[in-house]
Symmetry: D2
Subunit: 336 residues, 4 copies
Amino acid sequence: MIRVGIVGATGYTAVELIKLLLRHPHVQITRLTSRSDTGQPIEQTHPSLRDRLNLALTEFELEDFVAHVDCGFCCLPHAASSPIVKQIVDRGVRVIDFSADYRLSSLEQFTRIYQVEHADAGRLGHVPYGLPELFADEIRTAELVANPGCFPTTAILALSPLIVAGAIARDDIIVDSKTGVSGGGRTPKLNFHFPECNESVTAYGLGTHRHGPEIGEILSRWTKQPVQVTFAPHLIPMDRGILSTIYVRPVGGWDAKRMQQQLAEFYADSVFVRISSALPTTKDVSFTNFCDITTRDMGSRVAIVSVIDNLIKGASGAAVQNMNVMYGWEQTLGVL
Amino acid sequence: MIRVGIVGATGYTAVELIKLLLRHPHVQITRLTSRSDTGQPIEQTHPSLRDRLNLALTEFELEDFVAHVDCGFCCLPHAASSPIVKQIVDRGVRVIDFSADYRLSSLEQFTRIYQVEHADAGRLGHVPYGLPELFADEIRTAELVANPGCFPTTAILALSPLIVAGAIARDDIIVDSKTGVSGGGRTPKLNFHFPECNESVTAYGLGTHRHGPEIGEILSRWTKQPVQVTFAPHLIPMDRGILSTIYVRPVGGWDAKRMQQQLAEFYADSVFVRISSALPTTKDVSFTNFCDITTRDMGSRVAIVSVIDNLIKGASGAAVQNMNVMYGWEQTLGVL
Amino acid sequence: MIRVGIVGATGYTAVELIKLLLRHPHVQITRLTSRSDTGQPIEQTHPSLRDRLNLALTEFELEDFVAHVDCGFCCLPHAASSPIVKQIVDRGVRVIDFSADYRLSSLEQFTRIYQVEHADAGRLGHVPYGLPELFADEIRTAELVANPGCFPTTAILALSPLIVAGAIARDDIIVDSKTGVSGGGRTPKLNFHFPECNESVTAYGLGTHRHGPEIGEILSRWTKQPVQVTFAPHLIPMDRGILSTIYVRPVGGWDAKRMQQQLAEFYADSVFVRISSALPTTKDVSFTNFCDITTRDMGSRVAIVSVIDNLIKGASGAAVQNMNVMYGWEQTLGVL
Amino acid sequence: MIRVGIVGATGYTAVELIKLLLRHPHVQITRLTSRSDTGQPIEQTHPSLRDRLNLALTEFELEDFVAHVDCGFCCLPHAASSPIVKQIVDRGVRVIDFSADYRLSSLEQFTRIYQVEHADAGRLGHVPYGLPELFADEIRTAELVANPGCFPTTAILALSPLIVAGAIARDDIIVDSKTGVSGGGRTPKLNFHFPECNESVTAYGLGTHRHGPEIGEILSRWTKQPVQVTFAPHLIPMDRGILSTIYVRPVGGWDAKRMQQQLAEFYADSVFVRISSALPTTKDVSFTNFCDITTRDMGSRVAIVSVIDNLIKGASGAAVQNMNVMYGWEQTLGVL
């Protein structure tokens, strides 16, 4: 039994994380911190937790946190996260960080993309990217793991095995992603106001969304080859789920069928990646940690369709899976 | 051709009103005022108006407004409305007011319910309630009309003919209403945030919602008998539409069938009220000015089901219908 | 470890049941029967089960079923269920039946309401109603349990403690329920076709829905007093969830606050019923086995708001909870 | 005043068409034909038309139809349409056909794609494609017009001006489209069943959807250059709206900004195509005949975003616009 704490416990990823952790046989939640609602029982912020977790939100205090927590989950936005994470990890407490602060390898790249200072630049390049399907070896012993972005998870899982197999052109990849609104967080804004986004679909961040470079960098890091993607996210009127349609140009005679076989072999031992011949829907993986993938011939191209629940495999489920790897437990504990 | 202006032109009722007025053969929109987005073309706030109305938002200025407007529509919240409306009407410009400020007859009642001061108390009791199906005679010559609340429209149209006919107990009426989220306005708030209200239904304002007393007062005013209702609104994950299920206790041997006949006769000449034997859905009246009503026996009670589009018959369509009555035009101009 | 089988395994309640049973530590699913899709892996019908349950659908055969199943779940429609259930129970296999066939006590009442013959009339009156919060003693030793209707669950849990306390008039109860579309089943029909029910709300079955008499009968059975309710269901554009707004007339000076205390005391040991002062939303209980209840004063009436997930506490979660009671396990196993 | 009739009047495109025609100053609806619901008032099939159109559905009979109709709208599926259309047009009545039967130029191509016989092959190659923005000259005098497919409308309007300007590679175009569910028609099917497609997004018809070749052929016909597109449609949980994200490879130094200028100039006189710098949402054009388009640089590619209401500009609005052109009326009559 380990003690876990969550920093930034009022958002959607945090409440999903709490629900998963409540089902986990080896953990006890001991701290929930926040800058708002402090002093109040967590169930006032998240009524779905009524009678399930008798714990109040507290302001983050380093001494208290490290004294009561063996493994911390940090659910803060980028730039707000690294100053806190640095302190916790420096004190020897392991951390899984949900922000983008530790996903990229170099300070230069981080600064160019996020346009902010980094509070813990010395760790960049030494933090494993939290996709256990690809980086389990490094995650196992890590003090700090960078939980992946939701969109990148769909794309990286779909593309990695194909790039290393030499099946596709590395400079001609388009990722067209569709996401539910919970991906935008819990802070009310006009573009997430129900009468604005309901019964509507829109593209956003075309050419500028930060998950584009993240996909490229992690694919490059893992495949050890330069990879570039064109990334376009879209907002869909539903709570949760991401479907990415990935257009690739096959090389060397590869087609959809062979790609599917390659994916199936590659993920034969990865319980959370399911390769199928049917077109998956986001509902097939809703409220689960699965990523379902299939492939289709499209004339001179192949389309790869990859779906996840953005709050589970795209955030909190992946975090628990990472924790399981870090502590040597079954990857499925609490997330199946 | 008359010149019309809208005060408070950035909300949902205003944009619906603009779209209706653009189709109206006898009006020209000359002024759109607002406290935010001033100086910008209206299409920046409402992209659906792109290329349809070449007019910028301006700050409200009395002299300018009354010089360029023959009929004003005031889309401000209660308490914010009457200070403006008073000035405009005092200058001889006719006004249709969307707020609750002029719906009730007495200052005492207004103050008790809304807990604010009234800037134009002298007019209370002299402003017709803008349901042309019931108050057309007074609306015809009015300088100022109080546009009805959205929930009250469903209930008052359904109940008035039955009360005057002596068909139901006046002290045992329950109005259970279900509304789309646009009724909550365009300002982002947590309870209207997509991931909060999507895939969810909730009751709100039980025992305290201000439309309860409004229904009671207008029914009493029109029927000249004391009427009291129990009113409970619910938030439904859809953009627009209100369905009210009204539970009444029949007296004197009345049943659902006879009530339906009474309603059909009463509204025989009211083009926008459709009495049918089928259960209406809100979609049947979506984007229209219709109110569809039916009745059903429920043992010792009768249920009356009444549906409208909250933004049209519940707000902007009713306003245009009122304008048509005020100017002696066909009630359907621009709203059919 | 017991072996469980599901009869009628292609619908929405069945797939939810399978997911719950897969998490249950003491059961193994051995049979899934169906009249369609037989011979195919269950994951072809329910892709969300991909790689999670390696079992094919088979036609129901009595000998095979009773040889491989210790506890059966029957997810067939009313009238189709009792002929099968009778055979299984006669062979000594315990059954939890999802249909309405065994919920009422008398053949006369069943025939009047359902207008069909009953294949197992001899058992009527001897089958406990599967609400463990009220009938746990009888469920514990039952060979057959009648799983409750979804709407009745919300109403019976809310009303039972108030009726026995003498807090409300037993002949003046209105239950206005709002349900998600999954309650209508998995067979495509025009009224559940997406473009028909999306962005729309409608009442249905007013004065005729069979859950009205079910609520009345079970309340009467448990409280040993005659109870009658007026019941009106409404279809809401969401997947799952039921919110019932129940209008009661307090007697003997009871008010909302005292009713809430009574409910809280009554359910103090019932982990799945949560009494709160806040207005619950269906989302608070989505994908859980909880029923959240609160009360509000409404002038001469009190409104009680009660919410569940129609597929969990309203069907499959209740069934697993019943199984837990029948086998002497913790009620929460597999459903928390 | 001309007399119009609709063949196949029970679907979603037909009811939208009726609503538009009821607002049109120069037409009278005289015939509504159908194979189901015949003999019944149209308002029984479409309750939204209650009291608005007093006309019953009749079985299609040629003599009766051509005697009472000057302009026919045929809303039948492909293959079912041409046998009827042929008869009507042969009798000298002008027709606007909603099906795919007359959109392609050659029998060979039609047969290859649709795999059925064509009942009126002689007319192929002589029927204008009903996009007045591109083919107004031919539509003006046509006896028969092929109303465009919904997806092709978004893509052809966006791409045509860029291809003729030589701005993009003609063999490297990807059209990723997102559509509301009404595009799937009014016949209940499992994949359009509310609990299946709500809260879910899915790709379909990848590599096989017939609108892919339609886009290619019409672009080739209009630009007189060979054009090929990769087309992937997706189903979105909303009633109506299509958003297409079109990935093109610029040539000759063109970028997003210059493309936007080219589009703006090209459509300067086309009232229904609005080029803007903001990213359009489908809601911006909901319930209108507008197509909103913008462009964005995406590294080595440019993304063009194009939105319509699939039932209006993608079907019935386009049909009325075509009729207006055929009769020499303002293009906006009844559709603005």
